[in-house]
Symmetry: C2
Subunit: 359 residues, 2 copies
């Protein structure tokens, strides 16, 4: 049986990947020089499609790095002399915080229990904070901040830079990027690509900040510091030989998503998540891990399956589906279901049927 | 016409890549979790094959990063508090030096003209040098250091760490890795993979050094510092989601190279290079850029084609071959010919015939 991967990433490849790879091998796209006009056009096309899909303003640049984790490191290196502020309620927001510590910064965190949110209006962010780090979608627990929560926080702190980790939610959240100084995602989540590419959306305030740090002789990194990434991005290139295969595949998936239209995709994700959550809420064998419905992730659904975890996973497996296990200490107590745009209607309906038939 | 890419990387894909990709798509390998047993086994297999092919001792670890450029940054971050020493005679050795400067180190360089070597016995390496950085094969100029030059330098400086950039020569040089504290390469050169993976071979002295720096509270990076890469490597994993596709493809190419045997491959590369150099030496339209025969690269041949550059490139193109242009200021004055293991005998003979027929 060929299983369908509904795992939070790496995940089932988007259906356009296979024909795109065949085409690229035939055209020898992966032999192109990363300093050629052909590559520039490919890279330009991918960036143009991304900006169109997410409605990213011209003021913002797009940088290619190797992973979401690298993006965390690079934004901290390029935009923070000392003080970053982190909202931490899961493993990935905790990683963002610990990378800041590794880099010798003095990060401050506001912590909340796993699966719980923050009372964003009452939180005091220290005056000397340079960068506020928020995780839109905590892949480890299925906790999703609301877009308006993030945007309001920026409106009330206009003098601070804001970076949003949207590793496992992009292109779902409908951000006004004029309020987002930096955002980043990985391609092996919602975009259904093989892993190996991180994408950063970087606004002018981050670039300016990074130039200021450099003029103060602060170390901001080397080949992937923002100033260097920006200079190369003007030529649609990268400082090093990048993952051309992934940049090409991302362009192909974006083209497909643009055909559907972002509103259709967002509605589909929202509707599918609602259906899955309502099935879970009706069962006795499991419950939704995030208690507050407004913070339940629409792209990575985390289900508290307790002692039924193995039985449910095996049942879904026998029905043709592989779901994600729980993260870290919840490995044997949760399942995580990816709700990404690449899943066909047919596969989704079969999964719903399988989930409903478990008892 | 389907051209054969004899470019110094990205280059023609190794013939096993296409069937391997088809197999992987069918088996859904790129949907595997990077924390799964399946991935551990894949990663283990790739590392085992690499160690076997290059005869790397058990004392050395293999780390996966994103590019050769990243490898330069990571070894400098993890192994140097202040002083690195660089042999610079081309763009890539110069990049290694400039990355050290970007990172706030105090690098010292021994410079030589492009295409020229170093009198390694007479060079005084400062006493406080922590890391000696050598570029085995300067991709920009086709200059290759001899293996014994590098090994002798280490023997005469046993107290200093030695890192060797073998980006565009691995697996060709037959190093005694007991003398190499760190080496790294990119997969889009001799291994004929799509770009997007850097591989680091890291010995125990580099790891120890990196632990010492950390105990002195020196910043050594974050998720890709050696101490963290090492901890994850014990589980055959990486801190972040890596380029699983490239790790898988590298394993497949390594398996093919092991079938031929490393001696056969090295002999083939040496013989082919000799044949190409002797053709060039007999012509009037071009000359070998590197004057000293012992330092002519066997994997990236740099030919000074002067005013004949465009005509020759176009002729080779019409014969079905794409060669590399000159690097940087030599863009219109040199061609660079990749001599990588993946080229079939048939294609190589056709290329020889084409080159010989140009006048």
């Amino acid at each position: 049986m060929k299983h369908i991967y509904l795992t939070p990433g790496p995940t089932e490849l988007h259906p356009v990947i296979e024909p795109a790879l065949t085409y690229a091998l035939n055209e020898k796209i992966f032999s192109w020089s990363h300093r050629s006009k052909q590559f520039d056009e490919l890279s330009q096309k991918t960036i143009k499609s991304l900006k169109e899909l997410l409605n990213i303003p011209d003021s913002h640049s797009v940088f290619f790095v190797a992973s979401g984790t690298e993006a965390m490191e690079r934004v901290l290196e390029s935009c923070v002399e000392k003080n970053s502020f982190h909202f931490v309620n899961g493993s990935f927001s905790a990683r963002f915080f610990s990378i800041a510590k590794d880099l010798g910064k003095s990060p401050v965190k506001q912590e909340s229990a796993l699966g719980n949110g923050f009372d964003l209006r009452s939180i005091k962010i220290p005056k000397d904070t340079e960068l506020i780090c928020m995780t839109h979608n905590e892949t480890s627990t299925g906790f999703m901040l609301q877009v308006q929560e993030i945007e309001e926080l920026k409106r009330s702190h206009p003098d601070k830079l804001l970076v949003v980790d949207m590793v496992s939610s992009a292109p779902y959240p409908d951000f006004d990027y004029n309020l987002i100084d930096c955002a980043f995602f990985s391609v092996q989540k919602c975009f259904g690509l093989p892993a190996g590419l991180g994408v950063m959306i970087v606004g002018p305030k981050c670039l300016k900040r990074s130039q200021e740090l450099e003029s103060k002789r602060i170390i901001t990194g080397s080949y992937h510091r923002f100033v260097e990434l920006y200079e190369w991005s003007l030529k649609s290139q990268t400082p090093e030989t990048p993952n051309i295969l992934a940049i090409y595949l991302l362009g192909t998936v974006l083209e497909d998503l643009l055909k559907s239209g972002i509103e259709t995709i967002r509605t589909k994700i929202k509707d599918r998540a609602s259906r899955l959550y309502s099935i879970i809420e009706k069962t006795k064998f499991a419950s939704v891990f995030v208690k507050n419905p407004v913070n339940r992730s629409d792209t990575v659904l985390c289900i508290d399956t307790g002692s039924n975890t193995e039985k449910l996973s095996q049942f879904l497996n026998s029905e043709g589906f592989i779901v994600g296990s729980g993260y870290g200490k919840f490995k044997d107590k949760h399942i995580r279901i990816a709700n990404f745009p690449g899943t066909s209607d047919r596969d989704f309906e079969l999964f719903v049927k399988a989930l409903e038939s478990f008892s």
